[in-house]
Symmetry: C5
Subunit: 325 residues, 5 copies
């Protein structure tokens, strides 16, 4: 699949064959006139896409949408095809990576356009080759469903990884000296935000497909797309769930930081209020007045020490009563 | 009900019988051809469910939904049956436990699928046996309603337990030294959040059933499902109520912590500002200058003590005027 | 009205009569076959309600709803009657008290069910007796409207009392030492919350009545129910208004507390930073070094005093420039 | 217009005449049977309104709505008239003042009811007298539109005044010692809140008029009411805009107060941590131990002074590195 | 284009010509009777617009909307034209500058009204002259689409500049001594808010055009306007994205400021609690009591110094255990 950008699979209930192609002529040569043809392009080759568009009568705006990888997920009906574009989300070490997948679903042909080689579609290729499940018996619309389903299934891997990340924050939240907590969790929030941007519009797209009257979609497939809709909804709800979790974790951290501050203030206050009056007293008897009778009392020194002990004890009782210690 | 995973109850206005079965053959043998048959499976036995699906013509996607216990609550119409899946919520010591209940409602048969043995349906079994109320006189759709109603009724037990938990927080909120308050209440918030996730979609499902045109539902049952809808709505509103209560309790706690901090700061400030100037004064007369006339005044010492008393009194009046003491 | 739980009023444009009854037989005896009959039960007597239900063909679910005083406000159409249940709100010293009122509106009969004796309906009874306004000339549906209107009118008394309560908080908000402010205002918020729960669903119920096609409601009454709807809406908006007011008052209090804290900190800082350097200086000349030339200068003491004055003045200028004093 | 509460203007494309009247007979005498009659009452005279209601067949509920000045803005269709009630907002020194305006639009008659003499309608009276614009050529519905437009135009004066008020807050927000800021801005928020309450429902009312099928409204007027709708929408959005502005200004103020606090704390910390160790050192050499060798060193005093200088310098470097000074 | 306010371009698939005009007569002279005419006015000349309105039968309310530059973006259908008004956003050094663009789309004529000379339409003029793309082959509705598309494309330049601005704030957020952060970011928030006000209603306008049944719009253009709708949606979502980013950045800053404060408090507390007890001890031995045996112990001085060392060490261990140092 490396040299040639296009992988073609033709199949029908009886058999399946697979070829790689680099030009429109090759593609057309390997097309399956009787059964279903799946044309998968694993990079966004401007020229080849334009040629394909002419051959398969794809609207120029669709071509623009395929090439613009910042496109919002959407489903659009055209005269003789259905256009669906959405995001695959791959888990990487640096967080989720997005790849735009575009599907052009025609009567008996499915064209898919990916940004990069390597995809989630190998399982489906295998099912076609092995005639596993119902894929070979059903039409091009089922293939489109299966491709979307495979992409949506990968969402949950990415979401699980994020879930672990958030759980990790739950452990860190109680540590009030972790000054990186907020910046780190903001990065996670940002990831959630981008995920939401990819997942939410897909919900509407699938719903649009369900209610579509396009003749490339047979009504038997409605339960499948409804199921897909449920999966997308579940992914979207998981994202919302995580956002709420993150908000809760941030509140716990805020409370931990505030409690840590409170403890520090209490210690400062206790030590200060304990010693400031005592220091004043010893200061008094450090004065150099000529006439200070107490200084000459035989028990002046221990008496003052005793008084200071009493003051300190009184303070401690006061703190105790206020439940500071 | 322990050995065999399936419990079958056949009934009609005249009589009712009950059997346990372990295979589809047994199930079919005990089926009630004239009246209503309720087939209840108390664990998710993959193989048996597949066989049942074939026998009762249940769509493969329905089977997938029954087996996927992370399914969102939903109601879906198929050609000759209505599929409903939702969560039972059981109260345990560690908080609410969720169990997915799936109902397949056919013309004269109800199939229910539970994750675990032990359920809320014993009351309904007893009503069928004893011919109590209208259950034996009404159809399979009424049985489905009664089963859902039994599950929804249990929601309120769980909600009451949560209500007590929140009331407990109301008592704790005023204690500004309770540093576990926020982490603990976050756990309760999390429980509420999960409850909401189970209850809110059920609202839409029941509403969907009410407006369904499925021929397995007779219009006489509309008032019953409307009543069920009201109950679900009430449970959903109670959850919202609790969320608002929790938010209020957190605000009270925040205010208590902030007020506690304020009091500590006031004490520190009063003690500090009272003694710092006095300590300065005694420091002055602790200096060792050769020529300090005051030190030799006969009433120097009591005069300074008097001045300090005046300063302290002035400070206290200042604090009093600022309403700090 | 005390001994017998039921009060029956029969009326038509010509006349009106009134009786108390304790059993269904009595009720039926006093019924007005030609005109309108209003059967008002002032406690929820389980047995009597069941008998009435049979006599007036009321659905078992309606009976359940009448007896369940935690019912959400709702309006429901049945074959030959309209069922409306909602909350009366009475003002008491401890805040609003709720009472569930249920109305069963039939062609020529209105049944009302209250939780407790004593109600807002005496005015309507008087209007019937005195043939005041249009009440005797219009049908049972107008009576139902008049009863609902009387209950909704009382909402505004309760709301006015709450408005005074909130105004009181506006005065208290500026006092930063009022540590009960937040717990107290939370109680008011809680009251508002419960009020909203009673008033909001009533809005939908009245709207449901307006759009109802039930044959117990004549189209001439639409303007009246629309007017009622406006009143309920106004009550609901007042609640929202109060919630916003409470939020604003809480912000003012938060700001007052924070400003109070700021002032305390400023005083502490000013006193501390003023005296700490001075105390250091007098400490220096309290040292006992054998050789400290300054101590022997003739003007050493006044010079040090002067220097300290200058330091203090410098500090004060610094504070002034920072606008702290 | 002072003595008599009612001002009548009759007009048609050919001419216009104007009278003041105090009774229904007078009003009827001056009515324009061929053209349009505008009956404007500048106070809510209970008796006169009742008589007018009878003459012009106005529903009793409409009369109630005209007299209840706490009415929400609304538009309601009746058999042969359209009833519109909404708020005029006048700018005064103490903030916006509200006046309820009610319009009863009939085939060829417009009745307007104001709370107080003095209004925004003088411009329209002049346009009728001078036959300016299209007003004399179009019907009663255009007059109703023109009246509403005049009132809505005044909204923008009030909003501009509020805009200036908010701009003033933007200048005050940065002053962290302005303790009146939050209470003052809350008053402005409150004004915005009341404005919203008057403007938002008007949006729905005008939209209701646009979609109304009433025969007192000709379809040619749709663009005019759509334009009015746009104006109301713009006023409503300006209110939202201001609310967001106020929220932003409050955040700036919060940040300024918090920054001010931070600066104070820094100064306190720097002064304290600078002098506390030094004060300790001078305290050490103020002790009266018999045997303290340092006291007798010839350079003891300057050495200690030097050490203290080093300590102070070290502290300052530490502060510098932490970017506190 | 400078002297004359109006630029006229006539074109058809065969050719294109361009003129500047200053009066309606000139405009009419250069009109293209067979093909498409684009009349572009680059300032809001009251008189000329009125004359044009008469010539092209434009409704007086449309003229008002063109002249009122504070108009909300909107699309409105009239009998024989479609009126669209929206905002062009130009990037300037002081932030985004807004310019109202109004389009009157008739069967074969497009009139555009701009506030100022200089625009985003030069590219389109060039495409018409050079017969590039499909512009000359398609009708007036395509020209209107192309003009709107050119304006919307510029939104993304402005949004990119704002994105850079926000990224800059991300770097500044961690600096807790940056007291201008909040006021500066509020200005950016304000810009986002104004952008949203311009972009969001355009979404509805384009959606209104898509669903319009106006006969000046051919159905072939639907995909183009849908694409435009997607672009506007994307711009709107980018604004929302930025708002969320700004909120996140503000939270990071808040946390940084709070952490900075915490560190300062910790240093103050550590220094104070370390030295306050030591200062008390040296104060004790600075007292001048006649009888203080310790003062005469040979090792009194080093013993006290040792005790103080132990106290300090104990304190440091305490701080270490609390994880303050």
């Amino acid at each position: 699949m490396n040299g040639d950008p296009v992988n073609i699979i033709g199949y029908d209930p009886v058999g399946a064959w697979e070829h790689n192609a680099g030009s429109v002529e090759e593609i057309l040569r390997y097309r399956n006139p009787a059964g279903i043809t799946w044309i998968d392009m694993n990079r966004l080759d401007n020229g080849l896409i334009s040629e394909l568009a002419k051959t398969f009568r794809i609207h120029p705006l669709t071509v623009e949408d395929i090439l613009d990888t910042k496109q919002r997920p959407k489903a659009e009906e055209f005269d003789d095809y259905l256009f669906i574009t959405f995001k695959a989300i791959h888990q990487s070490e640096d967080g989720p990576i997005f790849e735009q997948i575009s599907i052009v679903l025609k009567e008996d042909t499915v064209l898919t356009f990916q940004e990069r080689p390597g995809d989630n579609f190998d399982g489906i290729r295998k099912r076609i080759r092995d005639n596993a499940g119902r894929i070979r018996r059903l039409g091009a619309d089922y293939l489109a469903y299966a491709l979307m389903d495979a992409v949506v299934d990968e969402y949950f891997f990415v979401l699980d990884a994020l879930g672990d990340e958030i759980e990790n924050f739950e452990d860190r939240a109680a540590d009030d000296s972790d000054t990186n907590f907020i910046p780190d969790i903001q990065k996670t929030k940002q990831k959630l935000f981008i995920l939401r941007k990819s997942i939410w519009p897909l919900r509407d797209s699938v719903s649009h497909i369900i209610h579509s009257e396009s003749n490339v979609l047979r009504s038997e497939l409605e339960p499948f797309f409804k199921d897909l809709h449920d999966h997308v909804l579940q992914a979207a709800e998981t994202v919302e769930n995580y956002r709420e979790l993150v908000a809760g974790v941030m509140e716990v951290n805020l409370s931990a930081v505030s409690n840590g501050m409170n403890k520090i203030m209490k210690v400062l206050t206790i030590i200060s209020t304990l010693f400031i009056p005592l220091t004043f007293i010893v200061g008094v008897y450090g004065m150099n007045f000529e006439i200070m009778p107490e200084l000459h009392f035989p028990y002046g020194y221990p008496a003052v020490m005793g008084i200071m002990l009493l003051v300190a004890a009184g303070m401690l009782i006061f703190f105790k009563r206020r439940r500071w210690i």
